[in-house]
């Protein structure tokens, strides 16, 4: 008979090993899924995980990796702070959209003035927009004890409607011949987030790296980070030691909102280029998987973000070459989270095999 015994401390080795095991199991289960769809599983897995990095056309795909990973890492870093403390912001997609609208709105307001100050101002507006959108669930939670999970999620749908309204109305390109969507910010040198488009470098990557370092220092060297971890691991102890839950909620939700807003701004002024009805592609939700896959650890999130970016790019290649449906990748990403959560058992509990009746 199998028995579970709670470990006094989560195992460190397994904590690092489980994401890797989960990836391997997902590859196997994904292979079975692809086989069920009538594709060669080995070819599909190779196309997704090998070709973008080391394949024949890898030189083309490698820069893409950073383009996709940057918003995922940026958002996931913010989410991980809250998740650590048991504060669940799952509306990052909404904060991402609002950040993009605010940032792009500021940029478009200055069009066609050229100035070095415009882009920093846009970043600020994007961060503020995302922050403000996240402050809605934060303040409601602090003031009325409202569940932040549901409020932040509802605001995603509100943000999507707002995005539709903006791209058809206020921010619509006046020279766009009536098509929905804003001016293309890539044609406006002062407002583009590309540092070097050919090399696939934009400011979002720089900020993602800064966010990783910032989060690492915060969690390991600062009292605020200690309080976040304490609240998550021992809420009672945190209360007795005088941690202010209100400040913690405002900080965690606000920071994750600001980072998601910035991610939205970098995306809209770079890879996406314009505000349009469907410029958001669900990074805010995928970032949840990234945060868990990275064990809510900044460096882990960086690696998990790159891996998830790989599945996006590999998925696109497989779509083109093998006719693998795009939804298959979504299923693949969902499975990864499942296996990861299931394997967490090994980190927190010791599995013991005992003869029946011995207990």
């Amino acid at each position: 008979m199998i028995k579970l015994e709670k470990r006094p401390m989560p195992s460190r080795t397994l904590s690092m090993a489980t994401p890797l095991i989960a990836v391997v199991i997902t590859m196997i289960a994904g292979g079975l899924l692809f086989a069920a769809l009538g594709k060669n599983p080995f070819e599909a897995i190779r196309t997704i995980f090998w070709d973008p990095v080391l394949g024949e056309y890898a030189f083309y795909y490698r820069p893409q990796l950073l383009v996709k990973a940057a918003p995922l890492v940026l958002i996931a870093i913010g989410l991980s702070l809250g998740f650590k403390a048991g504060i669940w912001n799952i509306g990052a997609e909404g904060q991402y959209i609002i950040g993009a609208i605010c940032g792009a709105g500021v940029g478009l307001a200055f069009y066609p003035t050229e100035s070095i100050l415009i882009f920093p101002l846009m970043i600020l507006a994007g961060a503020l927009g995302g922050w403000a959108w996240a402050m809605i669930p934060a303040l409601l939670k602090v003031k009325f004890g409202t569940n932040e999970i549901l409020v932040s999620l509802m605001l995603v749908y509100v943000a999507e409607q707002l995005l539709a309204s903006m791209s058809l109305g206020l921010l619509k390109n006046p020279e766009g011949h009536g098509f929905p969507g804003s001016r293309n910010l890539n044609d406006y040198p002062s407002a583009t987030s590309w540092i070097n488009e050919a090399a696939g470098l934009h400011w979002g990557m720089a900020f993602a790296f800064i966010a990783v370092i910032f989060a690492y220092v915060l969690l390991n060297r600062h009292i605020l980070g200690f309080n976040i971890r304490l609240t998550g691991e021992a809420p009672r102890a945190a209360r007795f030691s005088g941690v202010n839950p209100t400040r913690l909620i405002l900080f965690c939700l606000g920071t994750s909102g600001a980072l998601a807003g910035m991610a939205g701004l970098f995306e809209v002024s770079g890879p996406s280029g314009q505000i349009s009805i469907d410029f958001n592609v669900g990074y805010g939700f995928t970032a949840i998987i990234v945060a868990f896959l990275g064990r809510l650890h900044p460096v882990g999130i960086l690696l998990a973000g790159l891996l998830m970016a790989l599945t996006y790019i590999g998925g696109e290649i497989a779509q083109g070459n093998l006719g693998l449906p795009s939804a298959a990748i979504q299923v693949f990403q969902g499975m990864l989270l499942f296996f990861l959560l299931a394997l967490d058992l090994l980190t927190n509990y010791r599995v013991k095999f005992a003869a029946k009746g011995a207990a």
């Binding site: 549901l150 949840i288 998987i289 499942f338 959560l341 058992l345």
Partner: protein, 306 residues
């Protein structure tokens, strides 16, 4: 704008149709939460139910078989959640989110070849004479059978929780799993059954959208109804009849805003479409003042460590 184009009788009749998927999903989730489990995967189970029901009824030509398939589909998906939270002792919030993300992907994958197809129609109740009575007829006696099942289910859940022994055990497990375990009840089994019931209801609710309300298949067509159902359980303070009331209220808001869109009111379409979500937030804020009614063990992991 022409408000006279809105017919109050049709409005109430369509309100009941709009409320039914919400009602089904919320009543299922209510039972799950009464057992002390928070399953945030309602949206995922609904959309999987929507496509399983749609696919099976298109393939077999029978909407009835489709509904059965949706119930099975929702319950099967919920088993994944049950495994994660009850055996692997995973965090319920994270597992529920995983279920929703996975369900959305899975449904998109399953539904690829079903876009743009019309499903076989579900027969409506048509009683001679009674269904033809003006006002009362269209409102009460000429709907599809699932709508009545939803109301009956609400009554059944109420009676089960209030009067039956099983209901008492379920509530005990939700209030204090340690005490229930000490009394010899199998906490894990009760919770798994509750989770499966929730999944079956969510699946049926999803199929109601794709087979009867819309009826068509489009990716992500549940559009947050599963999440609103979760909010509805809070709104109802975990009471079945208030779930019914809440579902009709939300159904009414949704139908009204659609009617206002059609009537060409001066408010832009996007802002009207936001209203159900904004009102959900408002309701959550009002209801969150009173936390005392939530099952005491809600969201906590149970592990019988002798």
């Amino acid at each position: 704008m022409d408000l006279s184009a809105i017919n109050p009788v049709l409005l109430i009749a369509s309100l009941m149709v709009a409320a039914t998927p919400l009602l089904l999903a919320a009543i299922g989730e209510l039972v799950v939460e009464k057992a002390g489990v928070l399953n945030l995967g309602v949206e995922g189970m609904m959309i999987v139910g929507a496509i399983s029901g749609f696919a099976i009824s298109v393939e077999t030509g029978s909407p009835f078989l489709g509904l059965i398939a949706a119930i099975i589909g929702g319950a099967l998906l919920s088993l994944l959640f049950a495994f994660l939270t009850q055996f692997a002792l995973a965090n319920q919030v994270a597992s529920g989110l995983a279920l929703t993300l996975f369900g959305l992907g899975l449904s998109a994958l399953m539904g690829q070849s079903y876009v743009g197809i019309k499903p076989p129609a579900m027969a409506k109740l048509d009683l001679p004479v009674i269904s033809d009575i003006p006002v009362i007829g269209p409102i009460l006696f000429s709907h599809d059978p699932v709508l009545y099942i939803g109301i009956a289910l609400c009554a059944a859940v109420w009676a089960f929780l209030k009067f039956s022994r099983g209901g008492l055990v379920l509530r005990a497990v939700g209030e204090s799993h340690d005490a229930a375990h000490a009394l010899g009840y199998n906490v894990i089994r009760v919770r798994i059954l509750a989770i499966m019931f929730g999944g079956a209801c969510a699946g049926l609710g999803g199929a109601y959208i794709s087979l009867i309300r819309v009826p068509q298949w489009t990716e992500g067509m549940t559009a947050g109804i599963g999440w609103i159902a979760l909010a509805l359980v809070v709104f109802a303070s975990w009471k079945p009849w208030r779930v019914l009331l809440g579902a009709y209220l939300f159904g009414g808001i949704n139908v009204l805003q659609l009617n206002l869109q059609a009537a060409g009111i001066a408010i832009p379409v996007e802002y009207l479409a936001m209203s159900p979500y904004l009102i959900t937030i408002l309701v959550l804020v009002i209801m969150s003042a009173d936390k005392s009614r939530a099952p005491a063990s809600l969201g906590r992991t149970f592990h019988a460590s002798q």
